[in-house]
Amino acid sequence: MAGFVLVGLMLLATVCAPWLAPHDPLEVDVTNRLSSPSAQHWLGTDQLGRDVLSRVLFGGQVALKVSLIAISASMAIGLVLGMIAGFGPRWLDRILLVSFDTVRSFPTIMFALAIVALIGPSLNTVIGVIIATSIPVYARVVRTQTQALRERDFILAERAMGASTLRILRDHVLPNIAPPLVILASMDVPAVIAMEAGLSFLGLGVNPPTPSWGSILNDGYSYLRNSPWPIIAGGLPLIAVTLGFTFFGEALRDIFDPRLRRKDA
């Protein structure tokens, strides 16, 4: 329940950011830099005198955009590759499996750092890295589920009636593997948001002056000894959202799969 509320609040605040934000997140006011919270700036200002609250609100848009694009893309590609691996010939399965494992064998952040070193930091690089590292996760789940399904009687019956592979995959395999995939995706949101924020914190994500929770934290870290407010303000929404989506994902899992709830509760 708490998860639904937190996720709902985040979506609302992010979508309404242009109306909610008291200031322009990019508006510089050098006379009023690193100030503490006041009636005018509820969360204080950063090293350029920009309103932290407005930046936090707009930073949510970056987090949401990245997780939406990255997760839907990696889920779609992972779905196709996973079904090919699970339903196709064994040699293809082997090749795909080894390539999944290769990508997974890099610790994610090392992979991300290496890529950023090569192509330079940008939001698109972050999205690309997250997609590349998440595809194997989805593909592996889809592959296992597809393999379990392909031997089932109703699939065999469908085959015997002459249904094409595409039809079997689309009409019979897909509906069966969709629920676990949706749960996986919702559990993945906090990890993706943390990844974006982490890379932006390292200065390897969004380019300044775009506000992102990670870049707010990065600015705050540089001026840590002058004002604690940017760090407090940049970290809280990250904590709230990762918690919110985790509880949300668990609630979703309980709804879709009551067996797990009994074992886990």
Binding site: V98, L113, A114, A117, G198, F201, G220, L224, R225, T246
Partner: protein
Amino acid sequence: MAKFVLRRALISLLILCLAVSLLFGMIHLVPGDPASVMLGPRATPELKAELAQRMGLDQPLAVQLGRFVAGAARGDLGIDPFSGRRVTEIVLEQLPHTLVLVLAAIGGASLLGIPLGCFAAIRRGSWLDRLTAVVSVAFIAIPSFVVALYLLLWLGVQWRWFPAIGAGEAGNIADQAHHLVLPAIALGLGWVGYIARLVRASMLEVMEESHIRTARAFGLPERTIIVHYALRIALLPTVTILGLGIGSMLTGALFAEIVFSRPGIGKLLYEAVLNRNYPIVMGAVLVTTGFFVLSTLASDVVNASLDPRLRVEQGR
């Protein structure tokens, strides 16, 4: 069993080779050759050619890759073009700092997480159990670098309980331990929840088994049953997961090292990325990836030796 280990080791080696080639290929296929990137916009063609020759960049890609792999197999990862030192030496110098941090984090997390999970399982459904469930999820979900920043802010800068920067004076164990506290907490906090959940789940399973009932029938005290008969068995799967965890903890270690300005592989890699120092990037990524692959292999093997069914399934 020996066949299984050999097969898994070969697959790991294959994966490592593929990973290295992938990274190597990317470094050299991306526009902007490393030599001009490293020397900056004002470099003369002669300087560039000299550096390219020094780094072997004028050779065909396949030759370069072959040289790198052959060198890596001998433990030679090339020369750092900035300092002129051997990459292997630089990486090995930083590695112990990261290992100490990871071990401290895992150790601390186990000390807290195992009793927590054990109590939660024994008092199943109690407020303690429910609290543990919520807190573990929370600890797992919160990004470790946010924890690191908050710790730094409150305990390091505001209250000054712990030093905020560095790894401590070389040779001074107490000072080094003092410097280790905050990064280790930041890194290990998520694992407390993770370990607690694992121990709880496997304790619940073990407590249902017949040897526990037998021990009860013999009238053994509950304490003895839990500690000597149940927890021992329940810890096995946790230990394997921890083995696997050491590899993935490298990610968290990178953030902890950067936030607390601690030396280590993560910080080395980060600075190399900022400087576009490709030999160091390659070396650091190779060592961490190797570490990661090795810990996965180790936990697969331990798992298979504990559970023979896995051997059959994997060998399919």
